[in-house]
C-alpha cells in the first residue's frame, strides 16, 4: 500500500462562488412551502426558523448540540437546527413541529403526548415529538431500553421521561409495529 507518498493531481483553482459575509438571498423549503429570506451565511437554521420565519415551535436550549430542543427534520432525518447553517439547507426539505399536524388534526404523536401527560413545562416537547416520530420511522422503538437509548439525544429538564416513553409506546402499538408514515 502506498504510504505518505503524494501522487500529484492538479486541484482546480478557487472557482467556487462566494456568498456573504453580508446578507444573501436564501430560499428554504419549510413544511412544504418555499420561503425566501435575506440572511448572513453564519445564521443557523434554528435562528432562521425562529427569527425570520416566525416558526417559534422549534426551541433553543443549549445552542451547542447538547440538548435536542432544536430537533427538526432535514430530508426526513432528525437533526439539530442549532448546529446547522440555514444556507446549507437550500434544496433540502425541512420539517418542523408546525408541519406535523394535518390542518386541525394533530399528528398521532402530538395527541399521544397530550394524552400521556408527556410534558410539564413543555420546552423540550417539540424536539421530543420530532425525535419520537423519527424514532418510529427508523424502527428503533422495539422495547423501552431501545426507546431510552434512541431518545437520549433529547433531554427533559422536567424529567418527563416515563410519560414520554408511554406516549411513544402508544403510537408504536397503534401502528401495529408498522413504521410511522409521516
Amino acid at each position: 500500500m502506498k504510504s505518505h507518498q503524494a501522487i500529484r493531481t492538479a486541484p482546480a483553482p478557487d472557482s467556487a462562488v462566494v456568498r456573504g459575509p453580508d446578507e444573501v438571498e436564501v430560499r428554504l423549503r419549510v413544511n412544504g412551502t418555499t420561503r425566501r429570506m435575506f440572511i448572513e451565511p453564519r445564521v443557523s437554521l434554528l435562528d432562521a426558523l425562529r427569527d425570520r420565519l416566525d416558526l417559534h415551535g422549534t426551541k433553543k436550549g443549549c445552542n451547542q448540540g447538547a440538548c435536542g430542543a432544536c430537533t427538526v427534520w432535514v430530508d426526513r432525518r432528525r437533526v439539530l437546527a442549532c448546529l446547522t447553517l440555514a444556507i446549507s439547507c437550500e434544496n433540502r426539505e425541512i420539517t418542523t413541529i408546525e408541519g406535523l399536524a394535518e390542518g386541525d388534526t394533530l399528528h398521532p404523536m402530538q395527541q399521544a403526548f397530550l394524552d400521556a401527560d408527556a410534558f410539564q413545562c413543555g420546552y423540550c416537547t417539540p424536539g421530543q415529538i420530532m425525535s419520537a416520530v423519527a424514532l418510529l420511522t427508523e424502527g428503533h422503538a422495539r422495547d423501552d431500553d431501545e426507546i431510552k437509548e434512541w431518545m437520549s439525544g433529547n433531554l427533559c429538564r422536567c424529567a418527563a421521561y416515563p410519560h414520554i416513553r408511554r406516549a411513544i409506546r402508544r403510537v408504536r402499538d397503534e401502528q401495529g409495529g408498522e413504521r410511522a408514515s409521516h
Binding site: 492538479a10 486541484p11 467556487a16 453564519r42 444556507i87
Partner: protein
C-alpha cells in the same frame, strides 16, 4: 459568532483548490464541531467551504477484501451498513455509542476523526491553553482535569482525544485516504494522529486544504469477532471516560490473535501495544488479562482528578477481554 462567507462545491478538485487558496477558510461537513467552535470563537475561519455535495458518501468494497468508508458518509449510515456491522462490529458499536441519533445523522466520519478536543479550557477563549493559543500554558494541568488523559500526555497538553470511531480504527489499522494540493496520500491511522508533545496545536499531519476522502478498513477476519465497550458518566449521549475496542480469537485455550485500543484515557486513540504483547499467544485466562491491563497502564501518568482512570482503564480492559473470551468459548 463572527461573520463568515460561504461556498458550496460539488467536486473534489474545487473543494481542495478553494480551501488551499485561502488560509482563512475551512471545510464544512456536518458542522457539528465546526459550527459549535465558530460560535464560541475557538475556530475563526472567515470562509466555510461546504463539501456535503461531494460524491464521497459511499461504503465500498475494496479489491483486496477491505472496505472503504467515504469521508462524507454519515456516522448513522456507516453504523447501520450491513457489511460494516457483520465484518467490523466494533466500528458499528463505536459509532452507535457516540453522540446522539440527531448528531449521527449530521456528522461525517471524516469530521469525526478531525473533531477537536472537549477540554473545557480549550473551549473557553478566556483560559490559557497551549492547543488553542500556543505558549499560553495549560489550564488543565492544575485545573479541573477529571476527563483528561493519562496516556500520551506531555507537559504542554493532557486533553483526551474525543473520537470513539478513531479508537476502533486504531485497533483495525485503518488507513486514511486524503487528497490535497500536493496530491493523494494514504496515511496509516496511527500516523494520522499526532501526540501533543511540544506542539499540541498540531493534531494531524494534514496540510491546509487537504481533504479526507475516505477511510480504508483492511481485510481482517478477526474483526468479525470484535466489540467496543464505552464507560461514561451517564448511560448515553456522553463522551467516554474509558473505552476499549477489542478483536480477539482464541484457539486451544490460547489467544491466537489480539487487537486492542483504548479511548477516553489518551491524547490520541491509543493502540494498547504493551497489552497486546502480553496477550499474544497467552492462555485466555483472567491472569493473562490482568497482566496485560497492568502492562498497558504501567506507563500512565495521573494529573490529580483523573487518577481514577488508571484503575478504571485496567478494569475495563479485563472486562472486555473476559467477555470476548466467554463469547469465543461458547462459539
Amino acid at each position: 459568532m463572527r461573520p463568515i462567507s460561504y461556498s458550496r462545491v460539488s467536486d473534489v478538485g474545487t473543494a481542495i483548490g478553494t480551501v488551499a487558496a485561502d488560509p482563512h477558510s475551512a471545510f464544512l461537513a456536518g458542522g457539528t464541531n465546526q459550527v459549535d467552535l465558530l460560535r464560541i470563537y475557538v475556530e475563526q475561519p472567515r470562509r466555510l467551504v461546504d463539501i456535503n455535495d461531494l460524491p464521497l458518501k459511499q461504503v465500498e468494497e475494496l479489491p483486496g477484501g477491505g472496505l472503504r468508508l467515504g469521508g462524507l458518509a454519515r456516522m448513522s449510515d456507516v453504523a447501520e451498513h450491513p457489511t460494516v456491522r457483520r465484518r467490523y462490529p466494533m466500528v458499528t458499536e463505536s459509532l452507535l455509542l457516540g453522540a446522539s441519533p440527531q448528531l449521527r445523522h449530521m456528522a461525517s466520519v471524516a469530521g469525526n476523526l478531525m473533531q477537536r478536543v472537549r477540554c473545557t479550557y480549550f473551549r473557553d477563549t478566556e483560559a490559557p491553553c497551549n492547543k488553542r493559543a500556543p505558549g499560553t500554558g495549560c489550564s488543565a494541568m492544575e485545573g479541573v482535569n477529571r476527563g483528561h488523559a493519562v496516556l500520551g500526555t506531555s507537559e504542554c497538553c493532557i486533553a483526551t482525544h474525543p473520537s470513539d470511531l478513531g479508537v476502533a480504527l486504531m485497533a483495525l489499522d485503518a488507513v486514511v485516504q486524503t487528497e490535497g494540493p500536493a496530491g493523494q496520500r494514504s496515511i496509516p491511522i496511527d500516523d494520522f494522529y499526532l501526540l501533543p508533545g511540544r506542539t499540541p496545536e498540531r493534531e494531524h499531519p494534514l496540510t491546509h486544504g487537504e481533504l479526507v476522502t475516505g477511510i480504508d478498513l483492511p481485510p481482517l477476519p478477526v474483526a468479525a469477532r470484535s466489540r467496543y465497550i464505552k464507560i461514561r458518566d451517564r448511560e448515553s449521549y456522553e463522551f467516554a471516560l474509558v473505552a476499549v475496542a477489542v478483536a480477539m480469537s482464541v484457539a486451544g485455550g490460547r489467544i491466537a490473535e489480539i487487537r486492542l485500543a483504548l479511548g477516553g484515557v489518551a491524547t490520541k486513540p491509543w493502540r494498547a501495544r504493551a497489552a497486546e504483547r502480553e496477550l499474544d499467544g497467552a492462555p485466555a485466562t483472567p491472569e493473562s488479562f490482568t497482566r496485560a491491563a497492568e502492562a498497558e497502564m504501567a506507563g500512565a501518568t495521573p494529573h490529580g482528578m483523573n487518577a481514577f482512570k488508571i484503575e478504571l482503564g485496567k478494569r475495563t480492559i479485563v472486562r472486555a477481554l473476559t467477555e470476548m473470551a466467554e463469547r469465543e468459548g461458547s462459539a
